[in-house]
Symmetry: C2
Subunit: 212 residues, 2 copies
DNA sequence: TTGCAAACATGAGGATTACTCATATTAAGA
DNA sequence: TCTTAATATGAGTAATCCTCATGTTTGCAA
């Protein structure tokens, strides 16, 4: 992304400049996000132009900047929604796992769901592909991975009560971040190889999680 | 990165617009790359300004564009040098490996060297952190991973002559790309956790490579 | 109902920056 | 020495993010 924006060396977390309080403005903010998502789906977030977002949302450029301090903040807001959704999903899937077989099943399903989302959701794919270049997004992804790792650690503690907690936390975080990397890789090669890579990752991660 | 450049939807591979043939211009190109590297080390490649690169290299902005079609091309040229260097290093380290113990030792050393480079080389760190956002760089990294994976596969074939080649290739590529991801993660958390993550990755990858 | 403050809306314009191009200069071969 | 291709220059172009002065609407208390 972004000329001016990137020049700012202090990449502070991008938050809404002003939270919309009225019904009218809340709807307008929704339209802005929807327009941004559509444009990202069409051309990618780098090619997304603020003027185009405003136009498509039916608002002025000024209104856009009333609620989003800069371009990154829009992408961040979309990313945050995705992480919130997926965290809920992951938490639910792992909540009741109590044995190795259950973990295998749940983890395998989660990976498939994630892979499917990466394949099908251009917006998500674009955002998480560009993650590494943006500090705020990188931090969001890391926080997300840590949260997901905690769900995994909870399961692991039930499976292997005796094992070292720090080692478990390390393994869980590793497994999760590797997963993100594998997804990015898998969607950038042809489908067949992508499938193989995801399957291999699944096997590898499960071995690590189950056997320690 | 960057306004105009990013807007170009056809992200063709960035190659020197004109190869310097005279001694004079070759030296100037070297100065440009050195200036770019210095600026990236200081502020990161996003904050690197073309005008600043030219000024620091002691050339005009026009000369810069004589040899590099755009900003990405400069970063790409630097990245390419790093991959060429590291590939030579990896090839050498794996060339004479013939048993599991040797693989463990060689792989472990390579990971340590890589990790050390990520920690110590701000330019390399910056470039590979931003990799995902730039198609040309992503392709370079993938090509690099594939090349390195081939070295690994050669070793694996010696270790386990009977095993499935495609599975080996998948595992090797996976291990390598995961390694890149782990390095990026490791340098973005505190040193202690980073060390733990790298160690866990090493163990995990070796188990996959040795045991299949 | 009315008045008022705060929230919201607007878009022309400022500022930055990647990149071009017409022109001038230098090197290399005939 | 002459000619041509390579190289050098930097003021100017275009694209785009973001600001801000000004106008409008909403919620609410008197």
């Amino acid at each position: 992304m972004q000329g001016r924006v990137a020049a700012k060396l202090d990449q502070e977390i991008a938050m809404p400049r002003r939270a919309p309080t009225q019904q009218r403005s809340r709807e307008r903010v929704e339209r802005m996000l929807a327009a941004a998502a559509a444009l990202i789906a069409e051309q990618g977030s780098d090619a997304m132009r603020m003027g185009e977002v405003a136009e498509r949302a039916g608002v002025s450029i000024g209104s856009l900047y009333q609620f989003f301090p800069d371009k990154r903040a829009i992408v961040w807001a979309l990313a945050e929604r995705y992480t919130a959704e997926s965290q809920a999903c992951i938490s639910a899937a792992l909540k009741d796992v109590s044995d190795a077989e259950g973990l295998k099943q749940a983890f395998s399903e989660l990976v498939d769901i994630y892979y499917g989302m990466f394949l099908a959701e251009p917006v998500m794919r674009d955002i998480w592909s560009g993650t590494q270049a943006d500090k705020a997004l990188r931090e969001l992804e890391l926080a997300d991975s840590r949260a997901n790792a905690r769900f995994l650690v909870a399961v692991l503690k039930r499976l292997r009560p005796g094992a070292d907690t720090v080692a478990m936390e390390t393994a869980a975080l590793l497994v999760w971040q590797m997963g993100e990397a594998v997804m990015r890789l898998a969607i950038s090669v042809d489908r067949e190889e992508g499938d193989r890579l995801v399957a291999a990752y699944k096997r590898m991660a499960l071995r690590e999680l189950v056997e320690g």
